[in-house]
Symmetry: none
Subunit: 270 residues, 3 copies
């Protein structure tokens, strides 16, 4: 191996270790080096999103992709680096359950328990007790809860209306639970919930949710236009370019829509 190769490999090793908090495997083949170089030496080093932001995009992608090794490694890295607190990680699992499906969230939850225990074992510490679930901050009464859910639905989605309650998916699911409780839980910021949601709607790629969540994330100014573009690149590395190409198209369309709306409202441009 030449001096140039050695220096290049060392650079990739350092980039990997900085993100993952442990040394990279020594790939047995050049194609694997190539992937490490692109993902860690290139994508994770890009400006425009912080390393913390990138974890919130990465975790849903890795949890959806079912690759056990990368899932363990990325959960470990996000917690061991201190980029995410355990409270944020646990709320992220619930948020992911809704947008990515509960079976995959169930595994993610087990991996979080396992890696959290591992980190404490490595540090010779006891695992601290979890935050208590109750009391909830959201109303118990079904009518109040549906009203709270309808209000949160409008705010999160930047829409003037909420769906009809007399449909189990909308009433019992979306208004009662997803917006009446899940999005309103403390422990995870709106920016972080946006990052997770955009990654999930991008891999689920149902036509309307990807549009509505990309729109609302930018319209609310919780994610900027350029941050959303940067999410597209990061998502492409973790979930593949075809879905990223679709996301990129949706982002461009919704940037135009938001720009026009802001102009019509007399709001400041992006």
């Amino acid at each position: 191996m030449s001096a140039i190769d050695t220096a290049r490999h060392e650079q990739i090793r350092q980039a990997f270790a900085e993100v993952m908090t442990f040394a990279p495997p020594e790939p047995e083949n050049p194609a694997a080096w190539h992937m490490l170089q692109f993902v860690f030496g290139d994508v994770w080093q890009r400006p425009g999103l912080s390393r913390r932001d990138r974890h919130f995009v990465t975790l849903p992608c890795v949890a959806a992709a079912d690759a056990e090794g990368p899932l363990r490694d990325h959960v470990y890295a996000a917690l061991n680096s201190g980029d995410l607190t355990i409270t944020e990680m646990r709320e992220s699992v619930l948020h992911f359950a809704v947008y990515g499906g509960w079976p995959k969230a169930s595994r993610l939850n087990m991996v979080v328990d396992e890696q959290w225990a591992r980190i404490h074992a490595e540090r010779g510490q006891d695992v601290p007790p979890p935050d208590p679930l109750l009391p909830l901050t959201t109303p118990n009464d079904p009518e109040d809860r549906l009203a709270t859910g309808a209000q949160a639905f409008k705010e999160v989605n930047c829409l003037p209306y909420a769906p009809d309650r007399d449909n189990p998916f909308h009433g019992a699911g979306i208004l009662n639970f997803v917006f009446g409780e899940m999005w309103l839980r403390p422990g995870l910021g709106m920016r972080e919930r946006r990052l997770i949601t955009v990654a999930c709607v991008a891999f689920q790629d149902a036509p309307y949710p990807i549009v509505s969540h990309v729109y609302a994330a930018m319209k609310s100014r919780e994610l900027s236009f350029s941050e959303m573009e940067e999410i597209t690149v990061h998502f492409g590395a973790y979930y593949g370019w075809p879905k990223a190409a679709h996301l990129s198209q949706v982002v461009a369309d919704q940037q135009r829509r938001v720009t026009e709306e802001w102009a019509a409202e007399g709001s400041a441009p992006a």
Copy 2:
């Protein structure tokens, strides 16, 4: 085209029309005939599961797969045939949201509205008003609700324990909503919820949920051993052979486990 081909094509056309309630497209290429023959001429005609049962396996697969045309066609067929009532279909959307992710459920919900309107338009009828959401049959008080959820968790999963509440995924999600409300809703039977769930855990393929739901469906005797095997074939046609091969392995393993448990308990064998 020979007389044999013509007779064979006619047989496939009739099988398709019986399931789908409309005439098949005339495939433009022989490869497409081959798929129609396998799916409609073969799999849907097999004994062991009713046409109604097969709809509950098919719908989550088609909703997960994002294929717009087949999704519309299968929702139409399930409702137009009368195999599913609209109430069952709407509860199925909520159940699918939990196990397959809300973005894909959102699209499925739109397709249900659209096809239900289409069926009534074709019949020259008005769309009837929906069932009212409230009153809920489950408790409002958070403590009662968590207790109800823990009890339902044990019964549905055929387990002697329930997860700890002080974890947002388990407490706010699984106990409070998934088992404290969703599984307990009227409008859809346990057998039907089992069919949907097994299809969803099979395409999500997280290691533990596929095992626990296949086990519980058979242990509860809500699905028989041979019905579960038949689900594997139907699922294979709709979500592909590799995931079906994994499901088939899980089914065989859990059949052994359930058989041993029944023997130890002195219960009747399968």
Copy 3:
């Protein structure tokens, strides 16, 4: 079991063994026989694509589907049969990473290492050293690289234009890496890259990439119309009927488009 059943089972066993290079499991239930018969006794035996071609469609489907057992078996079969060289397999992993996402590719890469070692252990041989990564055949200078990427983008996609560089997804991702480097790597032919790409855009099923890659594969004449139809059936077996039905529709539409373009250009028809 009757003599007819026995002969039929023996036929399926032989078909399986020919593709997979090892004897099939003895399925414990008749439903599993049915799947083996369809996949190995029927689909893999069809004319129109070689066994080698079918491996390039199968591998991305199995890697995307996350079924660990079938993934190991198919990687083993492709290498043990000699249908793919190890260099082709390793380049296929990188190509798959781009179109199917890094986490799933990371697992595939581990399975390739494991099965390659297993094959050599079975043969009592040492694993040979891998091909060296460097020197790369693509330019280092960023401007040259973007220009190379733009040219390759036009050629691979059969389009007269390339996307704008001043967008992270397009510039840093598509032009710099995907077309400026990945598609241009030696070690895997264009036909093989087409087969992998079509399988990936079919399971990812983002609206535009499935259209553009099916179009370009036929327009470039690197895959014929009938080969593309045959891919649809093979893909259906490995990723399910609904996505295959969508692919089939895209193929029919793009066959019409390519036929019209060839007529307008005075080129030979398909």
